[in-house]
């Protein structure tokens, strides 16, 4: 395997003279061309971590190697290969959308013509063309995000570090952004590090994940590996035309019932028994009696909730019971 883009060892960062430990001996490796996700609840230390990775923040101790070179002492060369999407683009508020993107391209040493061409393409892609001549300050929160993204993407740097790229975006734009990032990775071999709360969406795109909680890295691996760490039971959701009462006896034999209501029943079954359970439901309950029948494997969100993100459970998901019922 080729050498890592980032190699982070025992990275520690404290605030307030050591009283608040934002990053606590974090080890991490980001490989070339991967889409890497950093998940964790609010205040877990994710932003602190990425701010050190782009050279905006100096670590207390530990090393960050970027392509084998230590950036904890001299980070001045980092912007030549790494671009960063951070907070609101206040620096660009007095510019129009077009200027903000074009000027950023020129700061990355693009020619004027090339900056113009790339800015036009990005505005087109992120549906910003209609507000190209508006001041960035006047835009909405979601539009700020998109301008910030375009600013991060212009110049096509090989490493992208994006802090909450889809925050405040509507579902359609989220999809556009994820697709764009996947295309960059696939076609240009870009290495992308994402910080996100949006675990369900991240699961569709990230290849490896680290979960951060209280400044510590509490899990690291592919979504599949992480799922194997937690409850691996299969979740069966049955929606009945009528009351499920008559079937409860059978369902209890198959697994653990976690939710039951007038027309709905949720069942957790061991992986090894799933096939038999599904067969018996189809044979004995029959599809005719069901409005809907869903078979779900644990999601990355379940992993996240079980391992670290419990505080965020209700805010994160429309079915907040998932993580809790496993516990």
């Amino acid at each position: 395997m080729s050498s890592p883009v980032y190699h982070i060892e025992k990275l520690t960062k404290t605030y307030n003279g050591g009283r608040i430990v934002a990053n606590d001996a974090i080890d991490l490796e980001v490989r070339p061309g991967e889409l890497f996700g950093l998940l964790g609840p609010n205040g877990a230390g994710k932003s602190t971590l990425v701010r050190q990775m782009v050279g905006l923040l100096k670590p207390d101790s530990g090393t960050i190697l970027l392509h084998g070179r230590d950036i904890t002492r001299d980070a001045s060369w980092v912007p030549r290969i790494v671009s960063f999407l951070g907070q609101k683009p206040v620096a660009l508020f007095d510019l129009t959308v077009r200027e903000a993107i074009e000027f950023s391209g020129r700061l990355r040493h693009l020619s004027m013509a090339e900056a113009r061409r790339q800015a036009a393409a990005l505005m087109d892609e992120f549906v910003l063309s209609s507000c190209a001549d508006q001041l960035v300050a006047r835009l909405s929160g979601g539009e700020h995000r998109l301008v910030g993204l375009a600013v991060a993407l212009i110049g096509h740097l090989p490493v992208l570090i994006l802090d909450e790229p889809t925050n405040e975006l509507d579902p359609a734009m989220r999809r556009v952004v994820w697709a764009h990032l996947q295309r960059l990775q696939r076609e240009e071999g870009a290495t992308i590090v994402l910080v996100t709360h949006n675990v369900l969406e991240a699961e569709q795109v990230v290849e490896r994940v680290a979960i951060i909680r209280n400044g510590r890295r509490i899990a690291l691996g592919t979504p599949g590996e992480l799922k194997a760490l937690v409850d691996r039971r299969i979740r069966l959701e049955l929606l009945f035309h009528q009351s499920p009462q008559d079937c409860l006896g059978l369902l209890r034999q198959l697994g653990t019932i976690t939710e039951v209501s007038a027309s709905r029943c949720v069942l957790l079954v061991e992986r090894e028994h799933a096939q038999r359970a599904i067969d018996r439901i189809l044979a004995e309950v029959t599809l005719e009696a069901l409005d809907d029948f869903r078979i779900l494997t644990p999601s990355l969100e379940d992993v996240y909730l079980q391992l670290g993100g419990r505080e965020r459970a209700t805010a994160l998901t429309a079915t907040p019971a998932v993580g809790e019922t496993y516990a």
């Binding site: 905006l56 100096k58 912007p79 620096a91 007095d94």
Partner: protein, 247 residues
């Protein structure tokens, strides 16, 4: 290489000017109103009797116009950029801090120039003196701006917020104005010493001589050298202290 320099100075300058394109009138008025007002005030107070004094006052107010941009405006802008984390953006771009700071300074300095022209014209008319306009004035004005910018940047970086930066900058400008308007031979002994560590003193002496048409090559050279030394110190300060990398 040329493109790199252009990108690092010209593009940030355009970005800064974009900020003032909405409020350039206010900047223009503020940067020239105060020096013009002081020229007028001292005329009306009637304390000026000799040609020497008149030229000293005109020169002092030229320096004040420069100080408003290089100290006051710059200090407040730097404090604001620090508070709003604007440096985060520039710090993640492949550009030099020194060129960025020069671009910011230049964007304000442009507003000092019409003010300076107005002071020279109005001053000459009010005091009935004829001034010599020599090319030597230009490097002295630029050098004075660059050297004073060190004070502005230092205040901007040290002040806890934008408002305090403004207040500290006003204090510093008071000192600059005082030392620039009062001829050195009338200053108390202790203050004369302070005058020599404030960069504008070197600019004032040479500018006055230039406007009177008595500037010798020696004075011109020494003054420029002194201003250059202050400017280099300023650029080193920026390189070291412009903390876009937080601890």
């Amino acid at each position: 290489m040329r493109r790199a320099i252009a990108a690092q100075f010209w593009v940030p300058l355009l970005m800064q000017l974009a900020r003032v394109r909405l409020s350039w009138r206010q900047y223009l008025i503020v940067s020239s109103a105060m020096p013009l007002g002081i020229v007028l005030l001292l005329r009306l107070a009637g304390s000026v009797t000799t040609r020497d004094d008149a030229v000293q006052i005109i020169t002092g107010n030229v320096v004040l116009a420069i100080a408003i941009t290089a100290i006051s405006m710059l200090a407040q802008r730097i404090a604001w950029m620090k508070a709003q984390r604007v440096f985060d953006y520039y710090a993640t771009m492949p550009i030099s801090r020194v060129l960025l700071l020069l671009a910011i300074l230049t964007s304000f300095f442009i507003f000092a120039l019409p003010g300076i022209a107005a002071i020279l014209v109005v001053g000459a008319l009010l005091y009935h003196v004829s001034l010599v306009l020599s090319w030597t004035l230009l490097p002295l004005i630029a050098g004075c701006g660059l050297a004073l910018a060190g004070i502005g940047v230092a205040i901007g970086l040290a002040a806890p917020d934008e408002q305090l930066a403004g207040l500290f900058a006003n204090l510093a400008m008071m000192a600059v104005l005082f030392l620039a308007i009062i001829p050195p031979d009338r200053l108390p002994q202790g203050i004369t010493t302070i005058a020599w560590i404030i960069p504008s003193t070197y600019a004032v002496n040479a500018m006055r001589a230039s406007l009177e048409g008595t500037l010798s090559w020696g004075t011109f050279g020494i003054s420029l050298l002194a201003l250059a030394a202050f400017s280099v110190a300023f650029l080193l300060l920026v390189r070291r202290q412009l903390a876009w990398r937080q601890e």
